[in-house]
């Protein structure tokens, strides 16, 4: 198994890429996503695999310089073989080169590098070779050769066409995983995303998986809008503060005598969970904020619905909010807060008050405890990434 090195993605794939697999990573023009191959190369190299990197578009020095200073920098030159633009020119620029002779040239190169240098993992930047041989022909050639030699193959392909083009390639060439990287994610037009177009060894939901690139170049899958909602005093603010490492608030008592914290006050902190970067967004709980709650729930990637499990008086309002959540159709978890207190309402009564069927799990927890709060998020992320039904 070779982990790609992007934990949330590896998780979806069941740990990574089984050795000997053929992987195609298709990038839309202008969209970052080179990190996928960079990360896989880094990860395979760390595992001590013998890697062949075919980079016809540039020189070995430029390629390595691009990696250095990123989280994917290679730790040594051991176990690495490069075929760069000069190797490409040698195969392609030979007098009387034909697509057929070029194909034979690549096949010979790969075969001898596997035999002589023990190469077991190939990273191919294929566009120039596709340009020379034809896309289908070039990909089939490398797929067949790697299959025959038992090599693991990662291909980066700049897709200048549409998604259908990738589907066609994926149908005609026996890749084990086809991953596309595109721009725009539902209503978040500035977020890029992955999509698993085809996967042989596991079943995953066909959902776009947005990601962000950190300042240091690290690619992190991202859940852009995780909404935390529920009635007043359910513990939403506490939950968000605990998870984002902000100090607990001593209650500010408003004129009415009740605490005036509104979960929106804490902003939209980013929290890491299961390899995802999540943006948490609190909503106020008061009835007169209904339209705002509805607005905030729009396009939520997931919802933490929170209720104070010790306060039966809040269940009516909780039910109204939960109905909104259900209406929106986003995946949600029911977090029953204040589990540290003794006076918890029995589950049965809570289910009845909220009209929750038996098969909807309840997550009793305390928002004061980091680990327990993280457990709630964890359950939500699991729900989002394993969901097979699309909205």
């Amino acid at each position: 198994m070779i982990p790609i090195g992007i934990p949330a993605l590896d998780d979806l794939l069941g740990g990574g890429i089984p050795t000997g697999s053929l992987v195609l990573v298709s990038l839309a023009p202008g969209v970052e996503g080179r990190q996928v191959l960079h990360s896989a190369l880094h990860s395979a190299h760390e595992q001590g695999r013998r890697c062949l990197v075919i980079v016809p578009y540039t020189t070995t020095n430029v390629y390595c310089a691009d990696l250095s200073g990123t989280p994917y920098a290679l730790s040594s030159e051991d176990n690495l073989v490069f075929l760069d633009t000069s190797a490409f020119d040698e195969v392609h620029g030979r007098r009387a080169a034909t697509p057929l002779s070029e194909a034979a040239g690549w096949d010979t190169l790969l075969t001898s590098l596997a035999a002589d240098r023990g190469v077991d993992t190939v990273f191919l930047y294929c566009n120039r070779i596709c340009d020379a041989l034809g896309t289908g022909e070039a990909l089939a050639l490398f797929a067949d050769t790697c299959r025959r030699l038992g090599l693991t193959l990662f291909v980066e392909y700049l897709n200048l066409y549409d998604r259908n083009h990738i589907r066609e390639l994926s149908a005609s060439i026996s890749f084990d995983l086809v991953l596309s990287v595109g721009e725009g994610f539902e209503n978040f037009i500035f977020l890029n995303h992955f999509r698993i177009e085809h996967l042989k060894w596991a079943h995953v939901p066909d959902i776009p998986l947005p990601f962000i690139i950190r300042d240091n170049g690290y690619l992190m899958p991202h859940l852009p809008k995780v909404v935390v909602t529920g009635p007043v005093d359910a513990g939403k603010t506490t939950f968000i503060r605990t998870l984002s490492g902000m100090p607990a608030l001593s209650d500010r008592i408003g004129l009415s005598g009740s605490p005036t914290t509104v979960a929106m006050d804490v902003g939209s902190p980013h929290v890491a969970c299961r390899g995802f970067d999540l943006t948490l967004m609190g909503t106020p709980g008061q009835e007169h904020f209904g339209p705002i709650i509805r607005h905030l729930l729009t396009n939520a990637t997931g919802v933490v619905f929170m209720v104070d499990g010790t306060n039966a008086a809040s269940f009516g309002r909780a039910r109204a909010i939960l109905d909104e959540v259900r209406e929106m159709g986003a995946p949600f978890v029911v977090a029953v807060n204040k589990g540290d207190l003794p006076e918890r309402v029995p589950d049965h009564d809570l289910r009845e008050a909220l009209a929750l069927p038996e098969d909807t799990p309840l997550h009793p927890f305390s928002a004061l405890e980091m680990e327990e709060a993280m457990g709630v998020l964890d359950a939500l992320v699991g729900l989002i990434t394993r969901r097979t039904d699309r909205r």
Partner: protein, 231 residues
């Protein structure tokens, strides 16, 4: 208002208006000062942003051709000689014109910065002007079909931004089919020719999307200024 140089205004008067969004193929043989003409056409006025994608000159040379203003450069030649050269706010590098993936990503980055700097200044958004110098070089590394597809997406982005793109191509380096294919991406064609006798004087004609061709305009450069010769 429009602070383009007097010479360009003169040209515009003679060849018809070039209005954004426009994607213009600049057909010019070598030694015709094609990039000087292109740079003059994309020279930024106050709030404008000019992006030069350069396969033929390094970033400092490109900057030297502009008197100032907001100029961004995507340098496709320096990195192959100096692999460690690092991107800056204004200059991004790709290893070679063969790297269309890297080029697309860095062009997006520049557009993001342009947008951010517009928001930061809170000024009326200026125009984005892009110069590709040159398509001829891209065609050395990549076949026509891929270049066409790439610039199809590229020119559409310029159109959506209501920008202006100027694409330099040496017609002598490519065949008819290449020119006619690339023409499909354009809203107009500027054709530059040398003038018999005087090496400093050139002629240009503009053909718009409807096929209308302007009368020839003779021009030369005096310093950085484009000067139109009266007939």
């Amino acid at each position: 208002m429009d602070q383009i140089s007097a010479g360009v205004r003169d040209i515009k008067g003679r060849i018809g208006d070039i209005r954004p969004p426009s994607n213009i193929l600049l057909l010019a043989p070598p030694f015709c000062d094609a990039e000087r003409l292109a740079y003059t056409l994309v020279r930024p006025s106050d709030n404008d942003h000019t992006i030069v994608i350069s396969t033929d000159e390094d970033a400092p040379t490109v900057y030297a051709s502009f008197a100032g203003g907001k100029v961004w450069v995507l340098d496709c030649i320096t990195k192959s000689m100096d692999p460690a050269v690092a991107d800056t706010e204004g200059v991004k590098y790709v290893g070679s014109p063969a790297d269309l993936t890297g080029l697309g990503i860095k062009f997006t980055k520049i557009l993001d910065s342009v947008q951010k700097s517009g928001e930061a200044e809170d000024a009326a958004p200026g125009q984005v002007r892009v110069c590709v110098n040159s398509l001829s070089s891209f065609l050395i590394y990549t076949k026509l079909e891929a270049i066409y597809r790439f610039y199809h997406i590229f020119s559409a982005r310029i159109r959506r931004m209501n920008g202006i793109g100027i694409y330099i191509l040496n017609p002598g380096s490519v065949d008819e089919k290449t020119i006619s294919t690339l023409k499909q991406l354009m809203t107009g064609i500027l054709k530059v020719e040398t003038c018999d006798g005087d090496p400093g004087v050139h002629t240009l004609r503009y053909q718009d999307i409807s096929g209308r061709v302007s009368p020839p305009v003779r021009y030369r450069f005096e310093g950085d200024e484009l000067v139109v010769d009266e007939p």
